[in-house]
Symmetry: C2
Subunit: 339 residues, 2 copies
């Protein structure tokens, strides 16, 4: 790799002092206009790197937004990022994205990397096991805006963008109750994350309101992978009293749960009604088609980027603490007993 | 946003000259050891940004790898990136990822953003309409390694990582011929990209070798989206002589093509046999299960990252021009007529 060009190299090439070059690159009025032009031209010619260059010229604005997500392997996250790209690009910003792979240590590394990349702001959905947000202090201390979406953390400096997961969990469970289910299982993730704990609360509340008992044996905690969905089905079928309904917190587990139930000869929805969450394209391919909760990923991404850019443009705080997007239940054949 | 800390601020705080601070941050032997320590400590304390800092201390190494992909919305790309993360993280590198959204202009913006982020190297799968790679000159001129994967471009300085798309296209078509298909349609993308043009060549060659005529009316060019798959089915069914087999260049179009064919009352595979490409999880959910070509995304990502890191660690060129990964045809019920 060739050597990094510094202001000292430019100074030497132009027979100027490094201080003059530095000021010239900053467009300092103490430097004559033609000298400033010579410095800028030489810097370009020698390949002096743009982030030095631009940050000096533009007071540190890189027009880049950093994004940290748990994983990039879901339709939901792809939709969120597509929404962010749309808004960011229209406003002249570029996204750079990193994955925490559900690890708080990796999330910390990502924070440092994006800080070093001089992003103007950060859009974050938290890792599985993140307990606090002290690793974002680099950003918060400098007043660089930080917005959480989907998997959020309450913080006075940060806006959060979510759906009402409690209500959504309640509605899915209520729908299964309305279809006659009396023993409804719930397949969920790490309840340290708001999205899963809120849906679990909604599930419990719907059971309670319907006078149905809550049975801890019917809650299956897992990593929400394809395999976990299949294992959930085997686990539930092996119970002394198997469920007659299953509410999975994502469509990946719901679809793979259904595959195993079907292989075991279970009729869906007659014997076990199934509902998922996310409205992933998978939900329209599995037969019977999967009842699910439509999660507005694209809109969430658009709103997260727009909120961040508004903060950047106005260079001020926001009084908005939480933005809640609408969701809707999509009823399909996997749960529809009463037609 | 608070002010960017420069070497001038550190110099003022320590009552040293900026040149001394600059040299101290570079660990220059002309500066006394205790002074160097004072400078480094103060720089940390004041929040002098790590990329300056690290680049000076570590001769410009950021331990960050840039990735540019067309889109993040496919299982294949998620697998590739998962493989890259695995290898990069184990070697102490962090990935930052950007999407070209299939546009060469956006790809150019990404190149500049990642250059300004001082990535140590770049892993790229090209956008739909990229015609040449002159926009990577920033990297090539500086000898920063650039590796192409999947959608590649021949260049003496760059290694490409691919599967044998010609052979794969040939094998899928040959399989449909073996099942008795005589009029095989092909649903494909922009043939400016190697992956699609090579599979199309394989398709044509297999037809030719079997003595079947090539009919341009049976080739459907599209953007490979869900909707395009559905439209392909409608288009093919409306032909005066509809096909008896369809080879789609991705599983998304194959699955959505199947949905429309099924809705039209077509029996799969008896009336029309269907095969896809990628071995997406969708292929095991659609009924009948989809015949597809297993595309080793995870391995491709691992190999791309490992090849790049080897170049970075050895700081030398590579004599490898192209690395070809194995693929395999997975035959399932959507095409299996002879059991």
């Amino acid at each position: 790799m060739s050597k990094q060009i510094t202001i000292y190299d430019i100074a030497e090439a132009l027979q100027l002092s490094p201080a003059t070059v530095s000021r010239g690159l900053k467009d300092h009025p103490a430097i004559r206009k033609d000298t400033r032009k010579r410095i800028v031209d030489k810097a370009r010619e020698m390949g002096y790197q743009q982030n030095h260059f631009a940050s000096n010229l533009r007071k540190s604005k890189s027009n880049t937004i950093g994004v940290i997500v748990p994983r990039l392997n879901s339709y939901f996250m792809a939709s969120v990022i597509s929404g962010m790209e749309k808004v960011a690009n229209a406003a002249g910003y570029n996204l750079i994205i990193s994955q925490s792979i559900e690890s708080k240590e990796k999330e910390f590394t990502n924070v440092k990397t994006l800080y070093d990349s001089r992003v103007d702001g950060l859009l974050v959905s938290l890792a599985y096991d993140t307990e606090d947000i002290s690793h974002f202090d680099l950003f918060l201390a400098k007043g660089i805006p930080l917005i959480f979406f989907d998997r959020v953390f309450e913080h006075p400096q940060c806006t959060s963008i979510v759906i009402d997961n409690f209500k959504a969990g309640y509605e899915v469970t209520q729908h299964l109750i309305d279809q006659g289910c009396k023993r409804i299982a719930h397949v969920t993730g790490n309840i340290m994350r708001n999205v899963y704990s809120d849906r679990l609360r909604g599930y419990k509340q719907a059971l309670a309101n319907a006078g149905l008992p809550f049975d801890e044996a019917l809650v299956y905690y897992c990593n929400l992978s394809e395999q976990a969905g299949a294992e959930a089905a085997s686990h539930l079928l092996a119970l002394p009293h198997p469920p007659d309904g299953v509410f999975c917190t994502n469509d990946t587990t719901a679809v793979n749960c259904m595959r195993v139930l079907k292989q075991a000869g279970i009729r869906i929805p007659e014997q076990i009604a199934v509902a998922g969450f996310n409205n992933d394209p998978l939900s329209k391919v599995i037969e019977p088609n999967l009842t699910t909760l439509n999660y507005p990923g694209q809109e969430m991404g658009e709103l997260a980027a727009a909120t961040l850019i508004r903060k950047l443009d106005r260079n001020e705080g926001s009084s908005i603490n939480t933005l809640v997007l609408r969701h809707d239940l999509i009823v399909r054949e996997s749960s529809l007993r009463k037609k």
